[in-house]
């Protein structure tokens, strides 16, 4: 019985911490490790497919951190990066739905960043993208 109580407590605490980590309010805390904000907060509501697309140019010889945030707690936030030919460059689905990811670009590339959730019914939540950079 005690083990069960402990398990439930651990689950609740860990879920609560996870929910806070990429909340909209705490999102900028993930912009650390020398990454400097590009000075903008990109916010948008999910569309009918529960996705939002952001068009971005990443310069060569630079490092970037891309952070996806939302107050959604019922679904895991998916973060994907494509080039303009729709080649998948990164998806957090393969990496435990990581809230942020770092990128080194050897050449300047135009990209499409997609943030969304996997839900059959349309959600109306807002998501936020932060981009930080540092020189190599």
């Amino acid at each position: 019985m005690h083990k069960l109580i402990l398990l439930i407590t651990i689950l609740l605490v860990s879920f609560s911490i996870k929910a806070q980590e990429n909340s909209m309010a705490n999102c900028s805390d993930l912009l650390n490790s020398g990454y400097v904000s590009d000075g903008k907060e990109y916010k948008a509501k999910l569309d009918q497919n529960n996705k939002v697309k952001f068009y971005a140019t990443f310069f060569g010889d630079s490092q970037y951190r891309i952070i996806a945030c939302s107050d959604i707690t019922d679904y895991k936030l998916q973060l994907s990066v494509y080039d303009t030919e729709k080649n998948l460059l990164y998806s957090n689905i393969n990496y435990n739905y990581s809230t942020y990811w770092n990128f080194t670009f050897n050449s300047t590339i135009d990209c499409i960043i997609e943030i969304g959730i996997n839900s059959k019914k349309q959600e109306h939540n807002e998501v936020m993208l932060l981009i930080g950079f540092k020189e190599k």
């Binding site: 019985m1 069960l4 109580i5 439930i8 609740l12 879920f15 609560s16 909340s23 909209m24 309010a25 900028s28 020398g34 400097v36 904000s37 590009d38 000075g39 903008k40 907060e41 990109y42 916010k43 948008a44 509501k45 569309d47 939002v52 697309k53 952001f54 068009y55 971005a56 140019t57 990443f58 310069f59 060569g60 630079s62 107050d71 707690t73 990066v81 080039d83 303009t84 030919e85 080649n87 460059l89 990164y90 990496y95 990581s98 942020y100 990811w101 770092n102 990128f103 080194t104 670009f105 050897n106 050449s107 300047t108 590339i109 135009d110 807002e126 993208l129 981009i131 950079f133 020189e135």
Partner: protein, 299 residues
Amino acid sequence: MLLTKKIKSLLIIFTLAILFFNNSCKNNNESTENKPSQNIDTTSVILKYRNSLFTIPSPYQATYTIKNSNISFDYSLLNSADNYSNYTTNFTQALNIGIYGTDIGYLNVYAQTQKVISYFSTIKYLSEELGIQSAFQSSMINRIENNIENQDSLLLFMTDTYRKFDSYLQNNNRNEIGVLIITGGWIESLYILSVNAVEQKNRKIINRLGEQKHPLDNLIELLSPYYYKSEVYANLIDSLVDLAYEFDGIIYNYSYEKPEIFPEKKLSVINSKSNIIISEYHLRTINNKIASIRNSIIH
């Protein structure tokens, strides 16, 4: 009997757990809702941009490119901090906050720290005129003065301030002001890049100039919802569209290569390749056109 007791205990625990979790979520929502700025709907951004957002690279990256190319500092490239009193409309104030922000980035990267304070005071003045001074922390100027020799610290202050401007303006349904600040910053960075590209003929800078093609398209997308807001918006957008025609003459080649992924560092190395081909004619024309656009904003 024992089993029933256990089931009852479990039910109580789950009920308490659900209550605790709901309450914690509710409290989170309440604490967010208590902030007046969070009450305002920011969905106008999304509707106007057809649910796609267009990002603009930080103008500070252009200044790094110039500094890393071993090009000397040139103060004459900047908008004088004394010009601030010329800006009497929200339109010119917002654009020049962007311009001065890029100038601070340029001063900072060249460690011209003694000039930074006057530029920062100018930005503070213009932000007060625009009614967005709350993005400044009251102690920020003092903190900058105390950290004036620390370039990294100053850069963090600046980018944090501009992010707060952006957030404040979005939350208060003044997106057009935020877009103008971004526009001013981008125009100034392109101007500084283009002057150096023409004068120095440095390949890295010329490439960085040519790579502004898509950021310019994105900027036009960001501004286009405000085309009919007033004549000054229309004129600005028309001049940027005219500039974009010159960028159409730049050849951009791209080839995909498989990225390398280092999960332990949460890092992807993007190996895809791109290159730029830009003629001397386009280089000079872009330089002339961006100088003309900038002059119309700072004078």
